[in-house]
């Protein structure tokens, strides 16, 4: 039977890696993700997990080690945070271009300067266009489940793509929560052994991986990677459905709605701050404000169609931005441009704006959500949004 335990996000991730029977793990210390590697190191030391645990000489090496190991047919795991994520940048595209279903955990962290341990999505979001799947967890439970779901999707022969499995540093990675651990047999049923296919490195069947191409040979390979992402939604739906059935969960694949029935305004959130947003929405409802929450589970592939259908139901959408895009089209973060693009062809578009919140790992308290709700309600009254970005806690807005 499934077991209920109390685990931090990092500890939950380590449990998922163990149950996924990962073959090769490559570590390098950086807070906060490193707690997951510490757990895995113990499991290997105790003989509970039969895996090669390699001490990488840096994040760039971590990704390089799992690139080689995956090409040789191993199921692999690595991870990082903050500047570690960006230090490894060179290797992300070679991995996705080689169609190697490597999995990397990111417990996100603000980039320097100045040195800051706090959670912020900018590290991972800077890598969102490298051909990897990417999505955030709100709780240790969701982090645990996402690791297993992502292995299954990434290793699917229709996909063969690497996955960034993200959780907010500290808010999720280090705050313990209840986690239901499935039985090994359930996981084995859901997640078959990794089959690397015919191009695995093997002296019995020599192949050349990653040769040079001419410029005119490049576009077709880009198209193939793009098409893999087009095929992804169907595979994600199948995998989430299968996981829900075998392990007993009720995830929706791409977008979770909370108290959105009859809502006028919604917060659009990815990751751990959704937990606070839920409370805010409940309190706002108690006060008669028709508020709701829409939570994003995958930012790559971005669920444009599903999001357009869902968000079209509301009058105003407030995108909570936990990453920066300096000089970007919305002058704020990375999600509002995606949301607006997804809504562009919708017959009924809601008003949309964004709130920079939780940057540097700051908490986003309930009062900030109430402040956002006032701005969104005013926008509905005015029939327009004042601007595309507001900085929570740093500006006064008369609502």
């Amino acid at each position: 039977m499934a077991r209920e335990v109390t685990l931090s996000g990092c500890a939950a991730s380590a449990q998922a890696v163990k149950l996924a029977r990962v073959d090769v793990i490559c570590s390098y210390p950086i807070r906060p993700y490193t707690a997951a590697m510490m757990e895995l190191a113990k499991m290997v030391a105790e003989g509970e997990l039969d895996a090669e645990f390699i001490h990488g000489e840096g994040e760039h090496a971590q990704l390089s080690v799992v690139y080689g190991a995956s090409a040789a047919g191993a199921r692999t795991f690595t991870g990082s945070s903050g500047v570690g994520v960006t230090y490894a940048m060179e290797v992300y595209s070679p991995i996705s271009g080689a169609r190697l279903p490597v999995q990397m955990m990111i417990a996100d962290r603000a980039l320097d300067p100045p040195g800051d341990f706090g959670s912020e999505h900018t590290d991972a979001m800077s890598c969102r266009d490298q051909g990897w799947m990417m999505g955030w967890a709100e709780t240790p439970q969701e982090a645990f489940d996402n690791h297993l779901i992502n292995y299954r999707i990434g290793e699917d022969k229709r996909v063969m793509l690497p996955q960034f499995v993200c959780q907010d540093g500290y808010f999720v990675s280090h705050i313990p929560g209840k986690v239901l651990l499935p039985e090994q047999a359930q996981v084995d049923e859901f997640l078959p052994a990794y089959d690397p296919g015919p191009h695995v490195l093997d002296p019995k069947h020599p192949v050349s991986h990653g040769p040079q191409i001419r410029p005119d040979q490049g576009a077709i390979m880009d198209l193939q990677r793009a098409e893999a992402f087009l095929d992804l939604p169907k595979v994600i739906e199948e995998a989430v459905d299968s996981y829900n059935r075998i392990v007993g969960r009720s995830y929706s694949p791409f977008i979770e709605e909370y108290l959105t029935d009859g809502a006028d305004i919604v917060f659009f959130v990815q990751g751990g701050h959704a937990a606070t947003a839920r409370h805010a929405v409940r309190h706002l409802r108690d006060q008669g404000v028709k508020a709701g929450l829409v939570k994003l589970r995958f930012v790559r592939p971005f669920p444009s169609r599903q999001l357009s259908e869902v968000l079209s139901k509301f009058k105003a959408v407030g995108v909570v931005e936990t990453s920066t895009s300096y000089g970007g089209s919305m002058r704020g973060g990375n999600l509002l441009p995606e949301v607006r693009a997804a809504l562009y062809d919708a017959p009924e578009r809601p008003l949309t704006t964004s709130f920079m919140a939780g940057l540097g790992g700051d908490v986003v308290p309930l009062k900030d959500f109430y402040w956002m709700a006032r701005i969104l309600s005013s926008a509905i009254k005015a029939g327009r949004v004042g601007k595309t970005v507001y900085w929570a806690g740093l500006e006064e807005v008369s609502a």
Partner: protein
């Protein structure tokens, strides 16, 4: 449903999966006829690195995986649908040959242990240029050596970033004219620095390494035997192979082997082995030719004045006392006038 990936009940056994003993050669006629580096590349005429690749692949045989960090032996070799490798080959970034090889070796170890693969651990060979081995790729190379992976790391040394248009690398000799060290009125000798010493970087601080050697394309039997010694022993090994570059060093492409031989005969290249702490030298006892004989065949040294050549000669003479063992030489600091 059967478990996808059963964990053994017993604590996992250390994998001893390499039993090969590649025989050592005594004469040219014993060199294997089979090639695993075959036509399909488009290297320059007289390419030293291509010649050493052919010899290394012959020495290693079919149970081999090459890791090819970016460099000449990637860009000039591995064209899509037309690569020259008859054994598995995988591209690595110029930065990470050692790390990619580490991952491949680890994967084979665990997959063989778990019964997911069968057969012997293959020969895992990183074929890195001097940049990929001693400059931008140094960290990954060092980590492979430190962690004790069963792999052979080769630095084929053509003494420059040749593929990108002959820029200086850490192994470009003092006085070399490269596109980043052009001689001029203010800097008459071109390159002012003396080179890094790649085998010493490995020997001096990687306790897992038991075999390090230098080799040259001018001595093919010696080269093949050193590759095989590196592969026969368990754990990491390092080979530094001198591979002249007609384009970068500016000499006639018919003279590649002659130049390589002169490098040894003048002491500009020393052949030796380091086996678990012991040095073994070869080609000793002969009077060295003056370095000028080596320099005069290469237009990259055309600009050198007698005082520069004397500096190089002094460096070579100092190294001859014990080739391979570091000696104190009058190395100028980069910013010295």
């Amino acid at each position: 449903m059967t478990p996808a990936n059963p964990i053994p009940q017993e604590p996992s056994m250390p994998a001893t999966v390499k039993t090969q003993t590649l025989p050592l050669l005594k004469k040219l006629s014993q060199i294997p006829k089979e090639d695993y580096y075959v036509p399909g590349h488009r290297t320059c005429a007289g390419c030293g690195p291509a010649l050493q690749y052919k010899l290394v692949a012959k020495a290693a045989g079919p149970n081999t995986i090459f890791i090819g960090p970016t460099g000449c032996m990637y860009v000039a070799n591995a064209s899509y649908l037309c690569t020259p490798y008859a054994v598995p080959w995988i591209h690595a970034q110029i930065t990470n040959g050692g790390a990619v090889a580490s991952g491949i070796e680890a994967a084979f170890q665990v997959l063989l242990r778990k019964g997911k693969r069968t057969g012997e651990l293959p020969n895992i060979i990183v074929m890195a240029g001097d940049g990929g081995a001693t400059d931008i790729g140094l960290q990954a190379m060092s980590a492979l050596m430190y962690r004790g992976h069963d792999a052979l790391f080769i630095c084929y040394d053509n003494e420059s970033y040749a593929n990108t248009g002959i820029q200086t690398s850490p192994t470009t000799p003092y006085g070399g004219n490269t596109t980043f060290t052009p001689p001029g009125k203010a800097i008459p000798e071109g390159k002012r620095l003396f080179p890094k010493d790649p085998p010493q970087l490995v020997i001096g601080g990687h306790p897992a390494v038991k075999y390090v050697a230098t080799a040259s394309i001018a001595y093919p039997i010696d080269l093949i035997n050193k590759v095989r010694k590196g592969l026969n022993q368990k754990g990491p090994a390092f080979l530094h192979i001198h591979a002249p570059c007609p384009k970068g060093w500016k000499f006639d492409e018919s003279k590649t082997v002659e130049i390589a031989k002169l490098a040894v005969e003048t002491g500009m290249w020393n052949l030796y082995e380091w086996i678990d702490g012991e040095y073994k030298h070869r080609e000793r006892g002969k009077e060295l030719k003056p370095v000028g004989e080596y320099l005069k065949l290469q237009r990259r040294f055309d600009h050198l004045k007698p005082e520069h050549i004397a500096k190089l000669q002094a460096f070579v003479n100092a190294r001859q006392k014990a080739p391979g063992v570091p000696v104190k030489v009058p190395v100028p600091m980069p910013r010295e006038a």
